[in-house]
């Protein structure tokens, strides 16, 4: 920011608005911009420490992580769901919502027991081929139409797929992967660039 406003001045402006009237007075644009950057920097400075799952057991959380990464894997352009923090996001919301607990908690239990029945191993111990085989069963609604017993498992996977997509595409790497450019401070809005067909 190219201005002679100090951080102290800005904070004073902000605090004055809050304390004096409970309704913020208009603050200068550069102060607003500075405040935004400050908030962003402070939020970004929170230390990244190892995450302890709030809802899922260590085993289930590991399964969850693996499933998330299978749904949105890393590729040449970006990391995957784990790098994007999707499992943490899903665990946090699940810890707060009984419906999520039923769908996701129940789904993970079903997955391990289905794998045990079929392959005599829990999901994480299955071979990649076995994992693909079981996921291909529950990743498509048409399978539940053919075999209604699969309904809860298909619902589970569909829900997890949405949440994994949410977790990935709202992350820093996910947003970069999509190519969103914005949330900026522009003096003028340039409009649509010259593009064929538009």
């Amino acid at each position: 920011m190219s201005s002679n406003l100090s951080r102290r001045d800005i904070l004073k402006t902000l605090a004055y608005g809050a304390a004096a009237t409970s309704v913020l007075r208009v603050i200068p644009a550069q102060a607003a911009e500075y405040a935004h950057h400050m908030i962003a920097a402070e939020k970004a400075a929170a230390p990244a420490k190892a995450y302890t799952a709030k809802f899922f057991s260590p085993h289930d959380y590991k399964t969850l992580q693996t499933l998330c990464q299978t749904i949105i894997p890393a590729d040449a352009d970006s990391g995957g769901a784990i790098e994007a923090g999707a499992p943490e996001f899903i665990d946090l919301l699940t810890s707060e919502n009984p419906d999520y607990q039923r769908i996701l908690g129940g789904g993970l239990l079903w997955l391990d027991s289905a794998c045990s029945d079929r392959y005599d191993k829990v999901y994480l111990d299955c071979s990649p081929e076995q994992q693909k085989e079981i996921l291909d069963q529950i990743a498509y609604k048409k399978n539940a139409i053919a075999n209604p017993a699969l309904n809860p498992a298909v619902e589970f996977f569909s829900f997890l797929r949405n949440m994994t997509a949410d977790g990935f595409f709202t992350s820093e790497i996910g947003i970069k992967y999509l190519g969103y450019v914005g949330s900026a401070f522009l003096k003028e809005f340039p409009g649509c660039p010259p593009v064929p067909e538009i």
């Binding site: 409970s22 309704v23 919301l93 709202t170 450019v181 949330s183 409009g191 538009i198």
Partner: protein, 567 residues
């Protein structure tokens, strides 16, 4: 210790509600020299802390979904603190067979903290409904009466737009509009092919510095609240003006129970709950301006019963609660493959549409009365939770192909929302529910709701138009609606568009209206209702600009009457 008895302080005016109506009245009345107290049922607002402008989803642990994923129902975690569909401890009820939703705000500034900033003038014909097509009623005032106040409001709050001479959408006092985004360029060309009028929108967002407020910086996040106040909210634009006069007292967390009438038949005081202390208090004033939001204003009058006014205050006509309308809303969307080829660029713009379609079929015979306008938007906006729900539902599966598919379709969607005029009908109204009170012991509203055929036909026309525009633009329309069922042609449930109004209407006849043309109660001359409760009809224009124009006009009248000693 002996109690000291003192005559209570008597303010010149007590305003109930701090949104578009209350904020405008506060500015005009305090600047006119009156001492004003304002009661707001919610808490104070602190934009620097409360607004999430420029925050990225990954900076919030819940990524915008809110605790337990529940924020999505109330438009997400990023929205300016403004209210919600359900308020704990303050229910409302619906009559059997009626579907109605009520979005209420409990914060300084009310719903202006998050509103769409769409600032459209009513047209001359909108004030003469009955004379035009025999339905509903005419307003007791004309466009010419209101136009000077549209001028004043636009000049003060700042609105962008262009002069277009479209009869259904009168021009105003405008700042230059922002340039069209790619999505808008595509749709404008499609509309030109179909002879659908598509013009720069009119929004209460300033594109030039104005009264100490910096110009918009084009982050597209108006709905989150704007820390630099480059868009209009009552909390940041009206209330600071009132505070500057030194004649303004704001009391928050004050839930008004009742307006109390003196022996002379005039309003004398309000009784309110101090929510923090959970005790009842009184405020005395010489005049009262109610702007609690249309249905809350009706509720307050209906709950203000006395021997002199057994059916509620200002309700000798029995119309309070009647003539409830909302906008007719139906929406749809299309996918435009050409948008996938756009180079990466900043597509944000202002928070909302740069162009829109005003009602364009006003000069021909349609199979429904009145009209609608179309709002639209899409393209590469900041990704949020739920962004790919629809795609995941269709594509299914998992893995690298799913991930790539999401990137391929990101930003190729353009959505359309029609906003049309509902004609008041006798089956849509609100009343006090005799069986239910809120946690403050105040009886709540019960809603009755029914659309008529005219609105259903309008929703059908919207759907046909959306499809035609999408196809003319080279896209594929994918919304599917049913022609029957609970929401024919995708018509939104009553209240969902959040343009509910009309329940304390103005009129010349005290037998068929509660207020006169200056929003002054026929029965109680020191009582004014200046929010959208006062509207006689609900044209296809978003109500906020007109609320401010009517409140400004009523406040000038109140000032004049106060000077003449007539209150």
């Amino acid at each position: 210790m002996a109690e000291v008895t003192r005559a209570p302080k008597v303010y010149d005016v007590c305003i109930i509600g701090s949104g578009a109506a209350g904020g405008t009245a506060a500015k005009i009345l305090t600047e006119g020299g009156l001492n004003v107290v304002m009661l707001e049922a919610g808490g104070p607002l602190n934009p620097a802390q409360d607004f999430k402008e420029h925050v990225w989803p990954y900076q919030l642990p819940h990524r915008g979904a809110g605790v337990g994923g529940k924020a999505s129902a109330d438009f997400g975690e990023f929205l300016a603190p403004n209210g919600s569909w359900e308020i704990e401890g303050e229910p409302y009820t619906t009559a059997p067979g009626s579907k109605f939703r009520w979005f209420r705000s409990r914060i300084v500034g009310g719903r202006t903290n998050h509103w769409g900033r769409i600032a459209l003038r009513f047209a001359p014909v909108d004030f003469r409904s009955r004379s035009t097509d025999g339905m509903g009623d005419d307003w007791p005032i004309t466009y010419e009466d209101v136009a000077p106040y549209y001028d004043k409001v636009e000049s003060y709050i700042g609105v962008f737009g262009t002069k277009e001479n479209v009869p259904s959408a009168p021009d105003g006092i405008f700042m230059p509009p922002p340039k069209p985004r790619c999505t808008e360029t595509i749709i404008k060309k499609a509309c030109d092919k179909l002879n659908v009028t598509c013009i720069p929108s009119r929004m209460a967002i300033i594109t030039q510095p104005h009264n100490g407020r910096p110009a918009c910086h084009y982050c597209a996040q108006c709905g989150r609240g704007c820390v630099s106040a480059s868009n209009f909210s009552s909390s940041q634009v009206m209330i600071p003006a009132a505070e500057k006069t030194g004649r303004f007292t704001l009391i928050t967390k004050a839930m008004v129970r009742e307006i109390i009438v003196g022996k002379d038949g005039k309003a004398q005081a309000v009784s309110y709950i101090d929510k923090s202390a959970r005790i009842e208090k009184k405020i005395y004033a010489k005049a009262f301006v109610v702007g609690a939001s249309a249905c809350e204003s009706a509720r307050l009058l209906l709950n203000s019963k006395s021997a002199m006014f057994p059916d509620g205050l200002a309700n000798s006509s029995g119309v309070v609660g009647r003539y409830l309308t909302d906008s007719v809303g139906s929406s749809g969307g299309g996918v435009f493959p050409q948008l996938a080829k756009m180079p990466k660029h900043n597509h944000d713009g202002v928070g909302g549409m740069h162009m829109y379609m005003p009602w364009w079929k006003f000069d021909r015979k349609n199979d429904f009365l009145r009209g609608y306008h179309i709002e639209f938007g899409g393209g590469r906006s900041m990704p949020g939770v739920g962004e790919f729900d629809d795609l995941c539902e269709v594509v299914e599966g998992y893995g690298a192909s799913l991930k790539q598919r999401c990137r391929d379709v990101y930003g190729t969607y353009i959505g359309f929302a029609g906003r049309g005029e509902m004609i008041p009908n006798e089956n849509s109204y609100c009343e006090i529910d005799p069986d239910t009170a809120d946690e403050w012991g105040i009886p709540v509203l019960r809603f009755h709701w029914q659309w008529s055929d005219n609105e259903i036909k309008m929703a059908r026309d919207m759907q046909e138009t959306f499809r035609a525009i999408v196809e003319a633009g080279g896209g594929t329309y994918y919304s599917k609606v049913e022609s029957d069922g609970p929401n024919p042609y995708g018509i939104a449930d009553g209240g969902v568009i959040i343009h509910e109004l009309g329940v304390v209407r103005i009129g010349n006849n005290p037998k068929t209206s509660a207020l006169n043309g200056y929003c002054q109660a026929h029965d109680v001359k020191n009582l004014f209702v200046t929010d959208a409760a006062s509207f006689v009809s609900n044209p296809d224009k978003n109500p906020t600009l007109t609320i401010m124009a009517l409140s400004w006009r009523a406040s000038e009248y109140l000032l004049d009457q106060a000077k003449k000693g007539n209150l």
